[in-house]
């Protein structure tokens, strides 16, 4: 190839990759700009702390905010132990490349690929109609108590959805703990479980926390899995028990966008809601990044 041609090829490759990178940034900027432009003026303390009024054409989003928070909290409580224990089994105990480990890994990978609406249907079929009904029968409820959509079932459905995120990031975190530390611990007469509890898990903690935050930010934004399992169109009251229905930011956005009798009147509300939802997930992602960099720095300096 001649020198000039090489130069042209090189330059065009640089500009092509640069352009692709720029498009990503531009997309995000456009979305943010649009949302902020439409919603910033309507965002206020009252908007965050009041219930919707006037057939959802006025008021705020407090029940949806509260519902989203309660839902993701329950989800986290459910998903973390299962996810972390699975990852510990896979990485620390299962024979590497053994049949069991391979089976679990294939299951995790496929779980991550299932469309979220399918999780919603699964939640309805399994948690509500199977587990819930069984509980009602066993506990002797005459009317529907557990066999109906509620925040418990919705959070468990989300937990199943976010399980792969937790497992994969925990496994990654376990892998990042140096082999040296394990052998040093074992050579000092520690058992495998002592090594796990005193060296491996503390070393993996930042990675595990990052996984938790990523799971939360993923779970907080999903709507499809909670459609049939607990999200309510409109509830003036906050959920009071595990079988209560709840309002949710994502579903509220959908409702405002499609079910309003007066689109023009609800538009600012819609924008402001979306802005809150975005702020929430961005903040969570930011927290994840902060945990990661802070602990990385700590690991480097060794405190």
């Amino acid at each position: 190839m001649k020198h000039a041609t090489r130069r042209v090829v090189g330059l065009s490759l640089v500009s092509l990759t640069g352009l692709a990178a720029f498009v990503i940034v531009a997309m995000l900027a456009l979305i943010l700009l649009d949302v902020v432009k439409g919603g910033a003026s309507h965002l206020s303390w009252e908007f965050l702390t009041q219930a919707p009024t006037d057939g959802m054409m006025g008021g705020g989003i407090f029940p949806a905010l509260f519902g989203t928070a309660a839902l993701t909290l329950l989800m986290t409580v459910a998903v973390m132990p299962v996810g972390v224990l699975t990852a510990v089994y896979l990485h620390e105990y299962a024979p590497p490349n053994g049949r069991m480990a391979r089976l679990v890994r294939v299951a995790v990978a496929n779980l991550a690929g299932v469309p979220s609406i399918v999780f919603g249907l699964f939640g309805l079929g399994f948690f509500i109609l199977f587990v819930g009904k069984g509980m009602d029968r066993a506990l002797g409820y005459e009317e529907l108590h557990w066999a109906q959509p509620g925040i418990l079932w919705a959070s468990l459905t989300l937990a199943v959805l976010t399980l792969p995120v937790v497992i994969v990031s925990t496994e990654e975190a376990l892998r990042a703990v140096p082999l040296d530390h394990r052998t040093a611990s074992l050579a000092l007469g520690a058992t495998q479980s002592q090594t796990l509890a005193r060296v491996v898990l503390p070393g993996a903690l930042p990675g595990i926390l990052t996984g938790a935050v990523l799971a939360i930010s993923r779970g907080a934004g999903e709507v499809a899995p909670i459609l049939f399992t607990g999200a309510a169109y409109f509830l003036p009251d906050l959920p009071t028990s595990l079988n209560s229905q709840f309002m949710h930011l994502g579903y509220h956005t959908y409702v405002l966008a499609t079910q309003s009798p007066d689109v023009e009147a609800t538009r600012p509300l819609l924008y402001a809601t979306v802005m809150v939802l975005l702020l929430l997930t961005f903040t969570l992602n930011l927290v994840a990044v902060l945990i990661r960099t802070r602990t990385r720095r700590k690991a480097a300096s060794g405190h």
Binding site: P95, P96, P178, D180, H181, T183, A184, S185, L186, A187, L188, G189, A190, T191, Q194, R198, V199, G203, A299, S301, G302, H303
Partner: protein, 258 residues
Amino acid sequence: MPPTSATPRNKMESRELTLRYGSKVAIHQVSLGIPEHRVTALIGPSGCGKSTFLRSLNRMNDLISGASHEGSVYLDGRSIHDRALDVVDLRRRVGMVFQKSNPFPKSIFENVAYGLRVGGLKDKAKLQARVEKSLRGAALWDEVKDRLDESALGLSGGQQQRLCIARALAVEPEVLLMDEPASALDPIATAKIEELIHELKSTYTIAIVTHNMQQAARVSDQTAFFYMGELVECGPTEQIFTNPREKRTEDYVTGKFG
């Protein structure tokens, strides 16, 4: 009494020990005694099996999947592969210091206290006393006594390695295995470690793997030369370096190959 005079009893002894990784033979029928309160140096070219042999003395090879062995190793006359013997107890009696210093990302104090804590020692005063004793034993106390709560990773390479020695000493082992403990250190830090080994042998039985001929000659009482998985020759260090029986040993210690 000069260290090489009377023949002491063997603290540890391997009898026809063969170790395989999968189908690959790493060491073949090695019979070697490690005399009590002496320093035994294991020398030989890379891949000769000396590290594998060292690691089999406290069963660290168990951690490698696919490793299997024939023959056995005896500690005070008792097989370390005995079913009744707990590998955790074995490793408390036979401590190890690794080539790369590997302190935990914890404070200096917690690093040394680690083996004691996993052993169930909770008493604070006792912990402090043992940590101080171990750090003194590793000739590190004066350098770190004012910053025991600081991270161990803030220490220099040589200090980190002495910390790892202190950490191993804290459990009060009977035997100390050292896998090229000074290979990543500068000459001054190396000299400190060698001096330390000299002091430690009155209390402990030491086996050390080294690539450095001069080091083996300086620190050890007995030297074992490994080549291609076999123990070629073992004898008093002075004899190995000045008057070896085997041609291969002579070629190696005089630098003709290796």
